[in-house]
């Protein structure tokens, strides 16, 4: 749910990066953080364990610029990907305006992707959202690795609806901004229609 503030002439939107454990959600945010001008970003917050696994969420506020005199801000969140952190994942989806699903393209993570996508749908429904009605994009991450499932197969199972999709290597940054741009654009188009979110 976007927040339009006429008093400060600002609009705030929330984007959540979802996906199985170790698929590269935090790495996506870290790359965005590194490559954004200092005046356009706030502090990146990571609530992580000692072994740098996300415990609750990562948070990165971005200011993109103005549209029609309104400052446009996006708040980027990641969820903890590990299966047993489901209670935390649900909380982070509250008030979401757009979702990025980061898939791990490696063959051995094929089932984990499907499980995580199902989990996303269930958790969204609990909050009263439908994934099909939300701005949603998919990123096939880790394309640099040798043991990737072919894109066609990934697409068939993860993206039957044909939402915007991107191949990526979040560590080098390939595809990271393309993914972010695409979801931000969908959110703004949704705002234009006057019915962001559910």
């Amino acid at each position: 749910m976007s927040f339009i503030n006429y008093a400060s002439r600002e609009i705030n939107c929330k984007i959540v990066y979802y996906g199985p454990g170790l698929c590269g959600k935090t790495t996506n945010l870290q790359f965005v953080y590194q490559k954004t001008a200092p005046d356009a970003k706030g502090k990146m917050i990571s609530l992580a364990t000692e072994t740098e696994r996300t415990l609750f969420f990562d948070f990165l506020p971005l200011a993109l610029g103005e549209i029609r005199g309104f400052k446009t801000r996006f708040h980027l969140y990641t969820v903890p990907g590990q299966v047993f952190y489901d209670a935390s994942r649900k909380l982070i989806l509250k008030g979401v305006d757009g979702v990025v699903f980061v898939a791990d393209s490696q063959e051995e993570r094929f089932d984990a992707n499907i499980e995580s996508l199902e989990n996303l749908k269930v958790n969204l429904e609990e909050q009263g959202y439908e994934l099909e009605k939300l701005p949603f994009v998919i990123q096939y991450n880790k394309q640099d690795l040798p043991n990737c499932t072919p894109i066609e197969e990934l697409r068939e199972l993860l993206n039957p609806g044909g939402v915007p999709e991107f191949t990526a290597c979040a560590q080098t940054g390939e595809g990271v901004f393309e993914t972010l741009k695409a979801v931000a654009k969908l959110i703004l188009l949704e705002l234009k229609k006057g019915g962001a979110g559910a």
Binding site: F3, A7, K14, T72, L91, K94, A196
Partner: protein, 166 residues
């Protein structure tokens, strides 16, 4: 107003002024350092006091995360929510409360105030804030009903959006 069925949470000038007046008064009457108001999704609504050295965006997001996590805990033990959280530090303390089950009121204070005083003043301010958010909610419903949703984004073009990323 803040349920998922609503597309956007809209803040208008008039209500913003009223909210600012209430939290300014609360700041004075409770001898607090900083006060801010956050929605449950982590968006900063308003703030006052010594905010210049504070990362209010991060504070807002973490506060909402904190409230969401304690809310989850509450549900697990059969409570609806924990409406007040208090964190005590060596110098500064944070008092967090939920106003009208919708927004989060955060008061940061030091030795110049006390927990008792903050609790007392917060209670009164919460009632006033609840009224304002009620009005805001009615306004939003009214706007939606009459179809008079004055979205500043209704007229944006693809070029406007592309320019953001140039």
């Amino acid at each position: 107003m803040l349920g998922p069925q609503q597309s956007s949470f809209v803040m208008y000038d008039e209500e913003f002024q009223r909210i600012s007046a209430v939290i300014d008064k609360l700041l004075r009457e409770s001898n607090a350092k900083v006060i801010f108001l956050v929605d449950k999704n982590g968006q900063l609504i308003a703030g006052c006091g010594e905010t210049e050295h504070l990362d209010t965006t991060s504070l807002a997001s973490l506060t909402a995360g904190n409230i969401a996590a304690t809310g989850g805990l509450a549900k697990l033990i059969g409570e609806k929510e924990f409406s007040i959280l208090f964190h005590e530090g060596e110098k500064d303390n944070i008092h967090i409360s939920i106003v009208a089950q919708r927004v989060i009121l955060v008061v940061i204070f030091d030795h110049r105030s006390s927990l008792g005083l903050v609790r007392l003043r917060v209670k009164k301010a919460s009632d006033e804030l609840a009224t304002i958010f009620e009005d805001l909610s009615e306004k939003a419903t009214e706007m939606e009903k009459t179809g008079n949703v004055d979205s500043p984004f209704a007229e944006i073009t693809d070029d406007d959006i592309d320019n953001l990323f140039s």
